[in-house]
């Protein structure tokens, strides 16, 4: 696994926690512990995503940099196999 994939896996881990905590919070909307964990995951994920996107390119269409070329099509897709 290369550096890019390692960073992406960290982002995926935080985002997976956010999905799971989000489902829990749907039915326990004032659980203080879950809210705190969600906040932590969100902040960590945002931090890593910014780092990733500066280094490797956009992860989503919402964060497309203002460049002369449309970078979305250059980045590898999740189903691309890399050595």
């Amino acid at each position: 696994m290369n550096e890019r994939q390692k960073l992406l896996e960290q982002i995926m881990a935080y985002d997976f926690c956010m999905i799971d905590l989000g489902l829990f919070l749907d039915t326990h909307p004032s659980d203080a512990n879950a809210l705190k964990d969600y906040r932590t995951c969100f902040e960590e994920s945002e931090k890593l995503r910014k780092l990733y996107e500066e280094k490797y390119g956009p992860l989503s269409l919402r964060h497309m940099p203002n460049t002369r070329c449309w970078q979305w099509i250059d980045m590898p897709w999740p189903w691309d196999r890399e050595a």
């Binding site: 992406l8 896996e9 982002i11 995926m12 985002d15 997976f16 999905i19 989000g22 489902l23 749907d26 039915t27 909307p29 956009p58 992860l59 989503s60 269409l61 919402r62 980045m75 897709w77 999740p78 189903w79 196999r81």
Partner: protein
Amino acid sequence: MWYYDKKLEYPINIKKCDPRMAKYIITQYGGPDGELAASLRYLSQRFHMPTKETQAILNDIGVSCSKCSGCSVFFLPGSPGNSEST
């Protein structure tokens, strides 16, 4: 409204060719009781849920289900994503 993130919800790493498992997964994805059908059911049922908690959870589960097994099908034996395919 959907947005695509260029990453998976959960990492996939299929190491060996297993056609029997592949058959289970593809049925679980698109079959009559599969994730795709389930996600559409959740997303229709959410409109009629009586509480805000249940509306939210059907919305969020419906979104999760429609994406959860989509990418894994590509890595099944015989598909272009699997290097062991023959």
